[in-house]
Amino acid sequence: MEHLWGDGVVWVTLALVASLISWRLGISVALIELVVGIAAGNSFHLQITEWVNFLASVGALVLTFLAGAELESATVKRFWKQSLVLGLIGFAAPFGLAWAVAQLLFGWELHAAQIAGIALSTTSVAVVYAVMVETGLNETPLGKLILAACFVNDLGTVIALGLLYTSFGAAFWVFVALTILAVVVLPKVTPHFLKKVNSHSSEPEVRYVLLILFALAYLAVRGGSEGVLPAYLVGMVLADTFLSSRELIKRMRATTFALLTPFYFLKAGSLVSLKAVLGSLGVVAALFLAKTVAKFMGLFPAGAAFRFTRRVNMYNTLMMSTGLTFGTISALYGLNHNIITRQQYSILVVVVILTAIIPTLIAQSFFEPKGKERETLFVAKGGE
């Protein structure tokens, strides 16, 4: 017991420090937790115990669910063609190029190179959304389209992570069948359940969501897949229900951010070896370029086909080149399953952090649509 509390003090101290730095600098706590985790992991021996692993895993699961639950289904329906095309290209192009660069240029094993492809195929809806709010674009058709495309992009990443390493045995098909059942039934059942329990102080809604996530994650892992896949899918189908229950989202967020995600991001950061990164700066640069160049080569022509103006097209391309949460989840999955080495993991996490920051800065500094450009898409699509 003594060790448990001692380790707890260390981890929670780091979580609090990250929270205070985030509050002071106005930067997301997730990014700060990663950086604090990197600093701690490279300064002293941070004990990653079973309970830390459990909290971190649940953190990743609930975070993925919340990401899915933030889908604006009306926006995806409105811009389904553009969001589907941009989202699929935004996923497939960097997935392919990063995989190729890792395997052919740097000699990574096939599966390790695929993890590089998956980790760098992502975008970040939340990072993009924060920028949109800052610039006021979140309420414009352009902003909504970019966000919808980011959702589709991340769905591609989650599906790839959930399916690429499975053996497609009987247990997998049981998982698929029950996930489909959940996706169909939950949107019908959940509103009635929420209405029935009516925000009781014993938090039945939060426990209900956790039960669904744990059950589907169990089935996913048993079937050789990954728990984040059903978590994202269930989040997406429950998005409209959650949209009308903002209080529930708040309570889930409070639970998740206070107790779960700090362990996830601190752990993800602590496993990064700075020595390995410093010895592989060329690989870091090459993989960063692979992601951003692939996004550019894929998304820019697609945007041009949709008649985006040059500035809007560059802005969209850069926004969709961001990445954070799913990038680290994919890399950590690879490390946990011994698909990638600690060195490869360290490289990927650093590249993911860079992709959260650099494309955002460039987009905001040089390509932020101004004046009439902010409504250009609306006009270009004939009032759609």
Binding site: S28, A67, A126, V127, Y129, I249, Q364
Partner: protein, 146 residues
């Protein structure tokens, strides 16, 4: 003399000084937009994290901005209040451009050199990049202590 003024306001002592100065400048018939800028987390983890930060900042600034606008209206100055989110300098400049302001007024509170360097200075950015004149109302130590 001025027609449209943007007053960057956060309810601090420096901002209150700027409010008084704005009232003097606008008494010639200018309209005033009282603007507060709430910070939201950069590189966010979830959309709801951003939404929650917006709500908190909105709650914090709505009242301050409303009271400042009301104080100006009580002096016969047409004024409206608005709370927006993002990097303060960028948001102030954007709103000034959008309404075609011919003056931006900011209050400033004394910061240590280190804090100014680490956190960046909103005033510096607005002065450098605004399309119109900028008036920086400095909170002197005498005022700060009163």
């Amino acid at each position: 003399m001025y027609k449209k003024i943007v007053l960057a306001y956060d309810g601090s002592e420096g901002a209150t000084m700027a409010l008084h100065r704005t009232a003097e400048l606008a008494s010639g018939g200018a309209g005033v937009l009282v603007l507060a800028v709430g910070r939201i987390p950069e590189y966010a983890e979830t959309v709801s994290e951003v939404e929650e930060a917006k709500e908190q900042a909105g709650r914090h600034y709505d009242r301050a901005v409303g009271e400042a606008a009301e104080a100006l209206r009580a002096k016969g100055i047409p004024a409206s209040g608005h709370v927006d989110f993002g990097k303060p300098a960028d948001v102030i400049i954007r709103h000034a451009e959008e309404i075609g302001a011919d003056l931006i007024v900011l209050g400033t509170n004394p910061h240590s050199a280190l804090k100014r360097r680490v956190l960046g200075a909103t005033v510096d950015k607005v002065v450098d990049h605004a399309h119109c004149s900028v008036l920086v109302v400095r909170l002197t130590e005498t005022h700060a202590s009163t």
